[in-house]
Every structure is written in C-alpha cells, then in structure tokens.
Symmetry: D2
Subunit: 259 residues, 4 copies
Amino acid sequence: MPTTPPKIRVTVWSEFRHEKLNPKVAALYPQGMHQAIAAVLAQHADFAVRTATLDEPEHGLTDAVLDQTDVLTWWGHLAHGEVSDAVVAKVRARVLEGMGLIVLHSGHFSKIFKALMGDTCSLSWRESTDKERLWVVNRAHPIAQGLGAYFEIPIEEMYGEPFGIPTPDELIFISWFTGGEVFRSGATWRRGHGNIFYFRPGHETYPTYHHPQVQQVIVNSVRWAHSGVRIKDAGPNLLPLEPLPVDPEAAARSTVGHR
Amino acid sequence: MPTTPPKIRVTVWSEFRHEKLNPKVAALYPQGMHQAIAAVLAQHADFAVRTATLDEPEHGLTDAVLDQTDVLTWWGHLAHGEVSDAVVAKVRARVLEGMGLIVLHSGHFSKIFKALMGDTCSLSWRESTDKERLWVVNRAHPIAQGLGAYFEIPIEEMYGEPFGIPTPDELIFISWFTGGEVFRSGATWRRGHGNIFYFRPGHETYPTYHHPQVQQVIVNSVRWAHSGVRIKDAGPNLLPLEPLPVDPEAAARSTVGHR
Amino acid sequence: MPTTPPKIRVTVWSEFRHEKLNPKVAALYPQGMHQAIAAVLAQHADFAVRTATLDEPEHGLTDAVLDQTDVLTWWGHLAHGEVSDAVVAKVRARVLEGMGLIVLHSGHFSKIFKALMGDTCSLSWRESTDKERLWVVNRAHPIAQGLGAYFEIPIEEMYGEPFGIPTPDELIFISWFTGGEVFRSGATWRRGHGNIFYFRPGHETYPTYHHPQVQQVIVNSVRWAHSGVRIKDAGPNLLPLEPLPVDPEAAARSTVGHR
Amino acid sequence: MPTTPPKIRVTVWSEFRHEKLNPKVAALYPQGMHQAIAAVLAQHADFAVRTATLDEPEHGLTDAVLDQTDVLTWWGHLAHGEVSDAVVAKVRARVLEGMGLIVLHSGHFSKIFKALMGDTCSLSWRESTDKERLWVVNRAHPIAQGLGAYFEIPIEEMYGEPFGIPTPDELIFISWFTGGEVFRSGATWRRGHGNIFYFRPGHETYPTYHHPQVQQVIVNSVRWAHSGVRIKDAGPNLLPLEPLPVDPEAAARSTVGHR
C-alpha cells in the first residue's frame, strides 16, 4: 500500500495593513490578502496551511511556527521597516537551512528579500491603468505547469526594468505592460539550501490574488520551493581524507574547522 | 593619434594584523600583504594603485578614496568584526553603482562579501601540508588569460566544499587538494552594476602572493572587474512611454516612482 | 481517496557490446549494464521501466517506444558512430518537446549529447587505479536527495577537466581523483522543454552501477528529469494582441508565422 | 612607449540575397547589409574589417580567411539551407577554439547558430508596424556600454517568446513590442572557448543597421566577443599528477587519452 507523503507545511505571511486602512482593499480581501492566498492553497490536499501577520507577537513567526514551516510566502509593502531585524535574521537562517521562500509583489523591497539577494532590489513602478501580460519563457519548469504560452492580468500596477536583482538561477516569466515596459516577473534563486521564488503580480487595490493563473503559479511555486531538506551549516569531517605529505613542523600546527 | 585610456584606479585593502603579530607572516610580507599585492599591480602601466588598511581612520576607505576607486581588492581574516558597518554599507553601495570588488581568500567571511552574496559564505578548512592544484574550467575568460590548463601552489591552506555561495555567474577555477577535497576557487557574480570576483588562494603563512600565476590572476581580475560605469540607482522616466487606456478615476490616482 | 499519479515511463538504453566482448564486464553485468540499471529503477513503484539496445531494430527506439518514454537514460562507448543519425534526430526532437534525458559516463561523447550541448564534450581520461570522491555542491537539489556531503567510488576511470560543456544550468557534483584531477561530474541543462542530466561514473570494467549512491543518484535524476510536459514546437497566435499603428501599406504586407 | 595591441580582425558575413531581389532592401543597403555593418566597424581604429557573402567560393569563408578572423558576424535569412555543411563545421570548430560569433536577427535560424545552441532556436514573428523598445537589463555589461536604460527602433519586425534557446550565460536586452509581445533580444553564451552573442534587430526592409544604438551594440559586441585565445582541443598531460595506489595488474592495463 503506498504511503502518503507528509504534507507541505506552508505559512502565508502578510503585513495586513492596507486591508485595515483602505476600504477598496478591504472590499477585495475582506479577511486580508493572506487569508485569500491561504484559502487557495488549502484547496490542495498536499498542503497544510497557516497564516501569520505583522502585528502578531514576533510577527507570528515564532520558533515554533518556523520549526513547522517548509515554505513561507511573504507579502509586505507599507511597513517593511517595522519588521524586526531579529525575525528577519531568523527567517534568513531558516531559508539557508532549506526552508522555501515565495516573495510576492512589493515584497521585492522587504528586508528578507534584500538580505538574501545582496542587491538593490530596486525597480520602477507606476500605479495606473496598465494591462500586464506574463509570457512564460520556461514552460517545462514546475512553476509553469498548467499555463499556456502567456496569461494576462487586465489591470495591474506596472513594475519596470531595471530590476536590481542578481542573475536568476532560472527565469520563468517576463511581463509586457501597456505603457511600454518589460519586467522579469518570475525568477528563482537558491541561497544556502533554500529555494526562493519571486513573483511580481499582486497590487493590493486590484483583485490579482483572485486570478486563476496567479493562483496556479503560487500553488506550483510552493510545491517547487519545498526542498525536503533542512541542513544545519556544519561541515564535513576535515581530517584529511587522503594521506598528506609528512612534515612534522606543519603537522604540529595543523588545525581544522568549519566557518 | 590614439589616446591612452584613463588608468584603472585600484585600492588594495588589507587587515594588516597578522603581519604585526606573527613573525612568519612578517618575514614573507615585510610591508604587509597589501603592499606585496600593490607592488604586483603597480608593474602594469594601466593601473594606478593605492592601499588602505583596517587601522587607518575609516579603514582608509573615505569617500574621497572610494570616489577615486574603480576596483577594490579585499583581504581580511582575524578582524572581520572590527570593520565598521558604516564602511561596509558605503563599500556595498559603491559596488552596486559599478565599482569592482576582488575578494581574496579568508575575505570569504568578510562582512562585505556576505552582504553582497546573501548566503552563508561558509566552508571547511584545514591548515596543514596540502598541495593545491587549480584547474581552469573556463580558459577563454579574461581572468584566465595567460594560464595553462592548471597551475599548482606547493603548500596552501585547504578550503573545501560545501562552499555556501550563490550559483556563480561564471565558474573559472576548481581546486584539487592533496587531502581529498575540491573547491570552487575562482568565481564571478554581478551585483547591481558591480563585478565581483572571489579568488581562494592566499593564506598568510605561505608565500602565495609571490606566486606568479596567483599574481597573474589578480592582475587579470582587476582588469575584468573594471566596469567603466558608475550608475546611481535612479530609475528611468516612469510616465508611460505608450498610451494607456483612458480611465479618469484611475488617472486621477496615478502615481509613479522608483524604489 | 487520493489518486496515484501515473508512473514515470523510463527507457534504459545501452550499447550492450562490452558485455559481449569482455568477460570482465560480463562477469560484473551478466545481463548487460542496461538490465542492472533497469533492475535498480524497477524497485521503485513510481517507475515503469523498459530497456533498449543498439543492436535491436531502430536501436530499440521506435516511435512507439519513444511515445511511451518520459525519461531516457543513455550509456554508450565503443559504438557511438553506429547510432543512426535518424534515431538521434528523433531522440533530439523528443527531448526538445519535453522528454527527460540522463546521459551516463562515456555517453558524454554520444551523438545525442553532442547535438544537444553544441559543444566539444571532450575531456581527459585515464583508466588506472584512481579513487573518485564526488563532492555534492548543491545538497538541496532533488538529484542529491539522500546523499551526504560526499561519496566515494573505490576505483573508477578518471575523467578530468577541461570538460567541453556549456555552462551548466545547475552544477551538482564535483569529483576529486587520486591522480590530481577534478571534474564536473553531475550537471543539468534544459534544451527546449527537456531536462538533461549528465552523470560521470560508470566505467564498464568496474562495478559502479552496483554502488548504492550511484544508484540513488540515477533514481533521483529520473524523477527530476520527468517534466510532465510534451510541447510541440508551435507558436502562440501571432496576430497582434494589442492594437498596432495604422499604416495601410504596411498592413497590406503584414505576415506572421512561427519558425 | 606603450605598444598598440593588435587589431581585432572582424569578418562580416551576410547572405546578400534580399538586396538583389527586393528594391526596397537595395535602397536601404545599396552595397548590401554586410557593407553597411562593415562600414560602421571600420570607423573604429581597433578593428580590421573584411566581408564575406554566400555566393563567393566557400561562402567567402576559406581557411585563410578564418585563420585571420577573431570575430565573425552572421546575417542570413532566405538561404540558410544553401550554406554548406562543410563550411558550418569549419566555423563551428573555429568558434569552439575561441573565435567570437555575433549572430544577427534572422541568423537565429542559421545552421551555425542551431549547431552551437543545440536547441530549437524557434520563435514567433510578425512583419507589421510594431515599434521595438529594447530595455537594458545588464547595464554594466561591456555590450551595453554607452546606452541608457532603453532604446527604441521606430518600426521593426516583431520576434516573440517563446524563443527556443538554452539559458543564456548573460541576458542583456529584453524587447517590448507594440503588439503585446516580449523577447530576449540580446544574450550571450560560451561554447568551447568561443564567445557568442545573439542580437535580435535587423529586418532587411527597415533601416535598422543605420540606427546609432544598434550600431553601438554591434561595435561593443565585437570587442566583447574577442577572446584573444585560440585553443586547440588538446588535453593536458594525463599521466597522473599524484601517485596512484600500486596495483600491478591495473598498471599493466593503464591507458590514457583525450577525446
């Protein structure tokens, strides 16, 4: 009898501030964007989903929660500066050990994304009446499963190049915008043992997280980001594995380590 | 009449502590490792070379110095923690604008390298009697010019995989060590507009910076890292470049920016 | 009730000549290397395994077989030149549509690998008494699941750098050899919609395919290479998706296509 | 007294058929597109430029010419099939040894580009009234020197994703088209020791090769592609560099080589 693999434990994190401040956002996402995203994921039997938000203690990302998180999704915008450095350091350490991270939209400027990219993470933007068309440049990638050659979002905030990111390990989407811009809208990187995916769409005043292809990409990306490993940064045995030349003076001072 | 291009302005930075503490290191590098490296570079007419060290004010890396630095080389080991966060932030900002950075040996664990990589930058090591043989896996790369298929360093500290770095943009050297280890010994990345090269050899108690191929690689890498650009992180015009659909309500709220 | 996903259909291809010519090889692999590899895969419930060999009609790779192959593994050595160009063209077309391909050991010089890499695929080699130690430089990769920091093969043919391959999309293993060489022993590329993995070990006169970690890597790589897609190379609709400037002369000559 | 480095010897190859068949093309390029491109390059003192075309003996690419070519540029369209396989094989061999190759526009479907990419090289296209805007996603790259954040071509043939290419080593340009498409318009790869750059613009019925930024990119790319090496595919010494375990039987059969 085949055994069922353990569920992928996803924590959907969101700032959850726009929803309280802007009735338009509240109308689109009455329970918050995190609940909308979590509900999408919860329809899939292979996920065990929880949420966490900025104003909870430790932003909802306690050690107990992180210990039980295989993949973390991140949406923030207004309040990147309010995310505590201690929590960022903990999340970063978990990613380096193997936790997956999905960074959504304005999360490009979050502390955690900037810390993992080591780059400016800057971009150009315009909140206006653009259409976004996402072209799939890597259709065989697990994150693109179930999509066609492209999909469209009727109205979205524009993000434009130059996007200040390291060369992606894999580029999956490139967006076309009505106003004349392009953007690398979906890209992956590995840091330590953790898989990271950045996905552009998701402006809070538009119903983007109700869009079926956007939902499909998020579902796919969580499955892809789940590495199944959690490797503490401990080195292998550093005694030589092969005989070294004999040199008594050198041997006397020989030391080893892992840093 | 052809004009001579302006010289590449190189600042050779070093911690300059081992040389004061360990007579063996002082014997190898009487003026300090930075002076040994600077002397190698100064033999080439296309370089204008200066040095800077940890114990100078602002570690010798004032705005005036950084304004006149096209490429910075970095060696540190004992005192990574003493490098001020303010100087690291300034150096990082310059790299993102286009200054080249050559990180040498134990500089893998410097604040500046970790900040730009966003990774653990950890590795395994053994100070013993290993031989290192560096195989060139990208012989057409500018950094490998003048080398053969491999070169050897008779005795060096061992650094072994796993090396906690992002996927290099380009991998140039892989080292073989007597004791049974391998290491990605030369690799490049771009962050913002800045070219970064990490080069493994250079343990302070060995005469590595007197080794001709090691010197050749450092010379080559400085030339390669010189981007010739210094681009402040300012976005393009974000008014739409093409006509957008008319929607008075949306147009009224339209805002643009660069972050 | 959860449904079982369809099995991954693997075809294990081998030249199957050494086994008939060299008693040492026949002793190690009485049914042929392909049968040894197939037996390993067949232990896993998610695989449906068949084999094919050079001396069968169409080398065992008829359209009917390829239509039912999700992932193809390839071992050849003596008789690369006997593989028909027509079969190579068919296999190449299938890979570009999404079939996975695992190229083993001396398959580095097969027609199919060279056609997909577009590079020399050359390397240095020595059949002698080397030990091989494979260091895992990407431990979170699906192909490295279940391995530690490294594993060893007590005796193997040496393959050394330079290895004439395009920059891998992902580098997973680097080998150390007793005689002083290194090699990029496990690497991935995508061509069209097909995932390709090259894995170095597997000299016919050694019991390499009975080695548990080598078996683990092959099993992992078949799962990884299975893309789940088969996309014929047909372009999207090329009528403009957005209005173009009106220019009757140009419009009169407007043509579209996909090539 | 500084010595002048030797000139970069460029051969500009073109099919030179449209110009003879279509008066519109002849009006734009009276001497042929190759002469227009050559004239641009010839304005720079560091280049020594010649041309070659399809209908010359050996397509103008004799051994003598190739022996004196550091970088080859390639434009073809109507007559890819008329390029002899022998010439393609020779050009491919030279690229693998270190000759640079710049592939222009419809050259994406040339035999030489397909042979070096190992991929479909397919794309979608529309000859209509599109504007093309090329966004620079790697402004510090030598190929982008002197450009701003983007440049525009008022009317061009559209090429759209999916573009069937391997993951570029470096992505430099992404194009936006009026009709709603995007395209990876400038990308680099290394094959063997040769640098390859693909650059999209250049439809024969438009004055694209008279466009100043297009000219700048071609000039930059020739300088970038010049590797300065020509390495015959000969391996290093394969006698072991380090002592091997003694095993008389194995030693007796030990053989080495390079393939």
